[in-house]
């Protein structure tokens, strides 16, 4: 049998459905691959060998009993360590939750189990999903399979690196400002941020509740769509979950794969064209736009004048919500407690615990948010950022009257070497320049490989209106039909 770790999720599911491979064989092949390469890649924080094999055996038993299998039954999946899975360590990349085994499943994990997928383990991430490189993980960074001396993006670098290293065919990420799409771009894989409220946040460790969106990562657009369909949809346990069916993303991905984009209008965001991106990224993006035009798409220029304020607005809104959300890490109900010697009071123990348990980026954001929310500064910072958020939403609404989707490079630069952006935190923030507007608006966005720059992957971002996630899958699959999947050098 051919090496299953090189196959798409769609191909693996077909092998299992026809009985040409068992789910246990497929799972063992991926566990073997992890054992062979992950000491160098470090995509995983925890590999759940027993749980994965048990889930695989259950799929094989179902098949043997003649029960109907879902479209992803038996396919392995890697889950970002931001989502709870009952009894499986969940750290969020932080020392403050080291050793915590949650007593419940997140909705995403529950749906992954219901779909018959096999959870291989939990993937590395920037602490509390704050970062663009995994360098802020308390457990050490993940290497980019294209060049192990470079970052795999972040915060979900572990999930995307696991895909590029053929350790898993599917992965789950979460996107607050680009944490699915930017890792997808720099690892040459696909990453989709669904419409906010289209995927459940129940059991997702909160960073910025009005922005956090779990979503699918894969090596192909169709695989991402299948995973999106499996995890998406209304969840009564999340009060911001949208009570509407998941857009038909799978059909859209299949339609796009035909390579026909006749009648589709692509909006080129004037403010994101050229400026801010590396020349190699801009060149690959422009070539991809030409390719999309050849498939019949029409390109129109759209102006989104407030997008230039998206990054500043985001770095007020997200830290503000973070400072509030992370107040729950008080050393009482879960996680670390430091300095409780019987003499120190609660507040001192809490302060010592939080200083020991949080890394520098998390502390910066907590303090920044505390500042933006404090009386005297609230109107000028948090309040003003919320108004800018309204204007960015209006820019999107106006742009979608002229175009079906908007396109841009996913991130301004290719995978950068470790350590090159950690000294000046704001330089790291710039990685999300093009992805953040979508989060503030709440619409969906996907990154699809569009070529190479100096041997490293470049991603093209497709942004769609709220609850029109299907549109980005159609355009993404069409692009993929021209570009193909990118194959990194052998590890």
């Amino acid at each position: 049998m051919a090496d299953v770790t090189r196959m798409t999720a769609t191909e693996i599911a077909a092998l299992i459905a026809t009985g040409e491979a068992s789910a246990v064989e497929v799972t063992r092949a991926h566990l073997d691959r992890i054992a062979a390469v992950d000491d160098r890649v470090h995509a995983f924080l925890h590999v759940d060998t027993d749980g994965a094999l048990e889930a695989a055996r259950a799929v094989d038993a179902k098949r043997a009993a003649g029960e109907e299998l879902g479209p992803l039954a038996g396919v392995p999946v890697a889950v970002k360590d931001v989502l709870t899975a009952k009894g499986v360590p969940t750290t969020v990349g932080s020392k403050i939750l080291e050793g915590w085994r949650p007593p419940y499943d997140s909705t995403i994990v529950r749906r992954l189990r219901a779909a018959g997928t096999v959870m291989l383990g939990k993937t590395n991430m920037d602490e509390f999903a704050m970062g663009s490189s995994t360098e802020y993980s308390a457990y050490g960074p993940t290497g980019n399979p294209w060049d192990l001396g470079r970052i795999p993006g972040g915060s979900g670098g572990g999930s995307s690196a696991a895909l590029a290293a053929y350790e898993a065919p599917l992965a789950i990420g979460s996107d607050t400002g680009g944490s699915i799409r930017q890792p997808g771009a720099v690892t040459g894989t696909v990453g989709a941020k669904p419409t906010y409220g289209g995927t459940s946040r129940y059991g997702l460790v909160a960073f910025s509740s009005s922005l956090d969106t779990p979503g699918p990562c894969a090596r192909t657009v169709l695989d991402a769509a299948l995973l999106h369909e499996a995890i998406g949809g209304h969840d009564p346990r999340d009060s911001t979950s949208i009570p509407a069916p998941v857009p038909d993303v799978v059909a859209a991905a299949r339609a796009g794969a035909s390579g026909d984009l006749t009648g589709v209008k692509l909006g080129l965001v004037t403010e994101f064209s050229g400026e801010g991106a590396e020349p190699g990224v801009t060149a690959a993006f422009r070539d991809a736009v030409d390719a999309l035009t050849k498939l019949g798409a029409e390109v129109v220029e759209v102006s989104c004048p407030h997008f230039q304020y998206a990054l500043p607005a985001y770095y007020l809104i997200a830290p503000s919500e973070c400072s509030s959300n992370l107040a729950r890490f008080d050393g009482v109900r879960f996680g670390l407690r430091v300095g409780d010697d019987g003499n120190r009071g609660l507040e001192e123990v809490m302060s010592l615990t939080r200083d020991a348990g949080f890394g520098p980026e998390v502390k910066r954001r907590i303090m920044l948010g505390t500042y933006a929310l404090s009386s005297g500064y609230y109107d000028a910072y948090y309040g003003q950022a919320q108004k800018v958020r309204t204007l960015i939403t209006r820019d999107f609404t106006a742009a979608f009257e002229q175009a079906d989707v908007l396109i841009s490079p996913t991130t301004p630069f290719v995978a950068f070497p470790f350590g090159s952006r950690t000294a000046d935190p704001y330089q790291m923030y710039l990685a999300d320049l093009f992805t953040i507007p979508t989060n503030l608006y709440g619409g969906p966005g996907i990154s699809v490989p569009c070529g190479l720059s100096e041997g490293l992957p470049v991603g093209l971002q497709i942004m769609a209106p709220t609850m029109a996630d299907d549109r980005m899958y159609r355009v993404g699959a069409a692009l993929e039909s021209v570009i193909g999947t990118l194959t990194p050098p052998e590890l």
Partner: protein
């Protein structure tokens, strides 16, 4: 001109319940200054008449059906706690007359000593 002083950052750390070291303060003060000067650009936007957006989805209060469903057991709820006693979360001392001044310089807690 700097947007934030070292003293203000120290105050923020206390409000945030972060017992930062002097060395951390030196680093954070410079970094937060750079970040604040960058994010202050939101002030350039004329938005006086613009309503704020807190969520992209309209938020309405959601009530679930009034049906009893099992929750976490006491053991499950306590399973991640750093310390527990008699089936309860055990916390460090909260009130004590001999408590040293808190980091914010407030006096000892009143009333319940």
């Amino acid at each position: 001109m700097s947007a934030i002083s070292r003293e203000e950052v120290a105050h923020l750390a206390r409000l945030s319940r972060l017992a930062v070291t002097e060395e951390e303060l030196d680093t954070f003060a410079g970094q937060l200054d750079v970040i604040l000067q960058a994010v202050a650009r939101v002030g350039e936007v004329a938005a006086a008449d613009i309503p704020p957006t807190s969520h992209s989805v309209p938020l309405t209060n959601v009530l679930r059906d009034d049906v009893v469903v099992p929750g976490l057991t006491r053991a499950e709820a306590l399973s991640g706690a750093p310390d527990s006693e008699e089936d309860r979360f055990r916390v460090p001392r909260i009130l004590d007359e001999d408590e040293p001044p808190s980091p914010r310089g407030e006096g000892p807690a009143e009333g319940n000593a």
